[in-house]
């Protein structure tokens, strides 16, 4: 029973961030799940590894929320895969999420710096 619980926790922890990462990745054009996970890994210099157990639920959730839509297409290697692409709402959502993220960063660094000054 523990494995599933683990996934759920991570989804919850990463929810906002993972969504942001996915939306950001899709900003450059449509991509399939494997591609998204590779892009995130590459762009974070292997620091962020998205687990499939979080990625696919997140993609399907974003699709249900209307931020992305999907269609089947051919990859460069001529294989069939499901490609996700930002919708108009998704683009708006990306901006909101980015704002939230920078607010978060500002807030976090403010707190951390204050703590550093005292110490």
């Amino acid at each position: 029973m523990s494995p599933k619980k683990g996934y759920q926790n991570r989804i919850e922890l990463l929810q906002g961030t993972l969504d942001l990462l996915i939306l950001q990745t899709l900003q450059w054009g449509s991509q399939h799940g494997y591609g998204i996970s590779n892009a995130i890994r590459a762009n974070s210099k292997d620091l962020l590894q998205v687990e499939t157990g979080s990625l696919y639920p997140a993609l399907h959730r974003l699709e249900r929320q209307g931020f992305v839509k999907s269609e089947w297409n051919q990859t460069e290697a001529n294989q069939r895969a499901k490609f996700y692409k930002l919708t108009v709402a998704g683009k708006k959502q990306l901006l909101t999420e980015r704002d939230r993220w920078s607010q978060m960063v500002t807030a976090m660094s403010g707190v951390l710096n204050a703590a550093g000054n005292e110490g």
């Binding site: 494995p3 996934y7 499939t52 157990g53 696919y56 399907h60």
Partner: protein
């Protein structure tokens, strides 16, 4: 939806397959798979994002549950059957409670109705001076309807004497109603019209009566119906579901109060200010509260009662009226006698069936537990490969829910059938005119207790089956031995069942002893071979003096019938349902309380006491020398003699009415005889000669008491023929054995005794099945152990003893707990008991013996099976 769901599933499969293919190209297949993680789990989590997963899963669980249940038909049938019985019994009792106690009248806005007086006095008529706080007279109604100021309108309705239908054996159930009856209730006729103020020989018939006698003919309005040789015109038909406002008395015909004396020849209630027979129901004016209505009834109403009583009452009696608190209450549930009579028995029965259901649930829980253990391997495996516990729990509970739903649906049939059976049992001679249909509330009730039952029997085994310890699951099913936890659970359930069975057996034992005690209680006379015939000569036009002559001549006619011993007559007699009372001044006695002057009374013919067998203690009994012309005399019972005279001489003293007039001399003292009610000790009672009726008073009934030499049914016919020959115009008398009248008095006690006996027997069987199941199961699991024991030299009888002692150890715990609860049961039911203590050792002993017998039987077969174990086979098997 399910089609698109399937496509979506395929798409997900493909999507993930594509992912894996792409990953494989970048690394090895092994690595790709490892990176991806648990494929099916990823799919499951992803599917949850589709939103409809919850419903989907539920549907899946249900289908799975059906598959599992179909695969184990024995288990499923046993579980559904016992649930159907347990829930069905509850549905049955509840639908009776609903019909008798809870349902509102099928009228417009029943919540707006308010009733006055005693709602249980539906068949009563009280004739006498001084008013009545339970019922009202017609003159009172007419004035109060005009002058109350709180009701928009108020109707009156009351009982009728027996009515003959021309050329038919049937006596229609009739009620007299005021002209506004239907309009106040808001009941519209389905044919014709309802009453107008000037209607006289008119009647409204019920839907059933219309079907029965007119086959639902459309042109029934305007047709004639002959009641007691008088023609009435049918003016309308009441709607199908409207049986009147008296719950449990399905009215056939409604007649205007104005025509009462003509419809009940010889009985004029209508215009008498001293005849109290009407019940009142009305609708309050907007903004008027129940409390205000009560105040008005007890001020304005009482003033009218006093004014009207002044003309006929003695001043001493008028004072009592000030002390009355006339009842005013919500009228939505209508009037009812049976509600009063049966609410206590029904409440007791409801508790009984709830316990039966608990025993059923324990049985099903044990079945589930046994299956949980045998499915331990499956569960352990599923948990080990990553199935979520809540998911498995949901699945098991869904299985229980399916069982519960199946049981609940079957219970509706069981309940419907059982409530009809109960109704027939409840009143074998006069079936209660209730149609127990499964009302919306009964359906809701059944659904609710089914869900409760599911939780009761399903939750613990499901929690057990899905508990975290995976290793224990696998270990357990490998050795096939249940853990201590499962065994403790099963054993405590069996102990619980034994405890509940003991409680039920003890309770029904108490009720059976109560019934026996009441049946055998001393009524104060010889009830065997005593025939009682109720006559109504007034209906044939007789006046009181002619009735007295008729009675005397009938005595001389009947006495010559072979097989007849003595014959006498009386006004009320024993267990006839009618009762008289009188207020008197007693020579040498100073009353302390208002009711100190009140005594029950009866008028009796010559040799009444020696005929019915009431012992004469002192003086002489009433006989032929007491005539209308001779000095007025009275015989009193011992209770009365004791109360007024103590040890002083009573004979020769005088009793007068409250104004000191009409003196009577006490000529005899007789033993106490119970005339109505077996539970209470005989009340103070005086007997006057049937022939000596004081000025302004009148006779209210005539009953012949015939002592026969044997309990010969044929003699009833002979007596009836003799009465008919004496005067063919007399209506056919109701004739019954005194024994039957007394038995009828015990209908409710018999109902409780029979049904509690039935339900506790059912409970015992269920508990025995439970015990048998658990013992077989436990014994089967101990085969190896038994094999070892036998290999080491244990004899067969030793093995049998081993199993039986385990059976009794389990039952013993239940018995001890049950004995404690039995005491509580006795205390709780004390008010319904008669002649037994709350803790009756004999009843406990019998109940314990019955349970031990059942336990022996339940343990015997598993024990025999264990003793037949071949050590070699059982040891090799492991």
């Amino acid at each position: 939806m399910f089609f698109s769901r399937k496509r979506k599933d395929q798409e997900l499969d493909e999507e993930i397959a594509a992912h894996l293919r792409m990953a494989e190209q970048d690394s090895s297949r092994q690595e790709a798979l490892r990176d991806f993680g648990n494929v099916s789990l990823v799919k499951e989590v992803t599917r949850e994002m589709w939103g409809w997963a919850a419903l989907e899963r539920f549907w899946q669980d249900i289908r799975y549950a059906f598959r599992i249940l179909r695969k184990n038909p024995g288990y499923t049938l046993t579980a559904v059957f016992s649930l159907a019985l347990g829930i069905g019994a509850n549905t049955a009792i509840f639908s009776l409670i609903d019909a008798i106690m809870l349902q509102s009248l099928p009228v417009k806005n029943p919540q707006g109705l308010v009733l006055l007086g005693d709602p249980t006095a539906v068949h009563s008529v009280s004739i006498g001076s001084g008013g009545n706080e339970r019922l009202f007279s017609y003159p009172f109604y007419k004035r109060f309807r005009q002058s109350n100021g709180v009701f928009t309108d108020l109707y009156a309705e009351g009982r009728s004497d027996q009515i003959d239908l021309k050329d038919q054996a049937e006596h229609p159930r009739a009620r007299f109603v005021s002209d506004n009856y239907f309009s106040v209730l808001g009941v519209a006729p389905i044919a014709g019209r309802t009453f107008r103020p000037d209607d006289r020989e008119a009647l409204v018939i019920s839907y059933d009566f219309w079907q029965r006698h007119f086959q639902g003919a459309g042109d029934v309005a305007g047709q004639k119906l002959t009641l007691d040789r008088r023609d009435f015109t049918i003016i309308g038909v009441a709607p199908r579901d409207f049986y009147g406002d008296v719950v449990g008395y399905a009215t056939d015909i409604w007649l205007p109060i104005e025509v009462q004396p003509e419809a009940n020849p010889g009985r004029d209630y209508r215009n008498q200010a001293n005849t109290y027979w009407l019940q009142l129901m009305g609708r309050l004016k907007p903004g008027v509260s129940l409390a205000q209505a009560s105040t008005v009834m007890n001020t304005v109403g009482k003033t009218i009662i006093k004014e009207q009583a002044t003309a006929i009452s003695q001043p001493a009696e008028l004072k009592r009226i000030d002390g009355w608190k006339i009842n005013v209450q919500a009228g939505a549930a209508g009037f009812s006698r049976i509600r009063h009579d049966y609410s206590q028995p029904l409440k007791i029965l409801m508790c009984l069936v709830a316990l039966v259901l608990l025993i059923c649930c324990a049985n099903v829980a044990n079945l589930q537990m046994a299956r949980a253990v045998s499915r331990g391997r499956e569960m352990g495996l599923r948990l080990a490969i990553g199935a979520a516990r809540p998911r498995l729990l949901r699945q098991l509970l869904t299985e229980s829910l399916v069982l519960g739903a199946a049981g609940g649906m079957a219970a509706l049939f069981v309940g419907y059938w059982m409530s009809r059976l109960l109704l027939r049992l409840a009143a074998q001679e006069n079936p209660l005119p209730l149609e127990p249909h499964l009302s919306a509330s009964a359906l809701l009730f059944t659904a609710a207790i089914s869900v409760l039952a599911v939780l009761a029997f399903g939750l613990a085994p499901a929690l057990f089956a899905t508990r975290g310890d995976v290793a224990a699951h696998l270990r357990e099913s490998k050795t096939g031995r249940s853990t201590g936890l499962a065994q403790r659970f099963e054993k405590s359930l069996v102990a619980l069942q034994i405890m509940l069975s003991l409680v039920l057996l003890y309770g029904s034992g108490l009720f059976i002893r109560t019934l026996q005690n009441l049946e055998q209680s001393d009524v104060g006379y010889r009830r065997e071979n005593l025939l009682i015939a109720e006559l109504d000569p007034w209906a044939a036009g007789y006046k009181d003096p002619q009735v007295q002559q008729l009675a005397q001549s009938l005595v001389s006619n009947l006495i010559s019938i072979p097989g007849v011993g003595k014959v006498t007559f009386s006004e009320n007699g024993m267990f006839s349902g009618s009762e008289s009372g009188s207020r008197n001044l007693i020579e040498g006695f100073v009353p302390q309380a208002p009711d100190d002057n009140l005594n029950r009374s009866d008028r009796v013919g010559p040799k009444y006491f020696s005929t019915v067998g009431v012992p004469l203690i002192a003086g002489r009994e009433i006989d032929e020398q007491d005539t209308p012309k001779s000095a007025h005399v009275v015989v009193i019972n011992q209770a009365m003699a004791r109360f007024y005279f103590g040890h002083r001489q009573a004979i020769g003293r005088h009793i007068t009415d409250m104004d000191g007039k009409n003196p009577m001399t006490i000529i005899g003292i007789v033993g106490d005889a119970k005339q109505n009610g077996l539970r209470e000790p005989a009340a103070r009672r005086l007997y006057t000669p049937y022939t000596q009726v004081t000025e302004g008073d009148s006779l209210s009934g005539l009953r012949l008491e015939v002592r026969t030499r044997a309990n010969d049914p044929a003699i009833q016919t002979t007596v009836l023929e003799a009465i008919h020959k004496a005067d063919p115009t007399l209506r056919k008398p109701a004739i019954k054995w005194a024994q039957k009248l007394i038995e009828k008095e015990l209908e409710q006690e018999r109902l409780i005794a029979q049904l509690s006996g039935f339900f506790s027997f059912l409970a015992l069987i269920l508990a025995a099945i439970g015990l048998y199941g658990v013992m077989s199961y436990l014994t089967a699991r101990r085969t190896t152990e038994v094999g070892v024991r036998m290999a080491l030299g244990a004899s067969r009888s030793h093995v049998v003893g081993l199993v039986l002692s385990e059976t009794f150890a389990m039952s013993g715990a239940g018995l001890v707990a049950g004995a404690v609860c039995a005491y509580a049961v006795g205390k709780l039911t004390a008010s319904s008991l008669y002649g037994v203590a709350a803790f009756d050792p004999l009843t406990v002993a019998v109940a314990v013996a019955i349970i031990c017998g059942a336990a022996l039987l339940a343990g015997w077969f598993p024990a025999q099976r264990a003793a037949r174990v071949d050590p070699m086979v059982s040891l090799r098997a492991d």
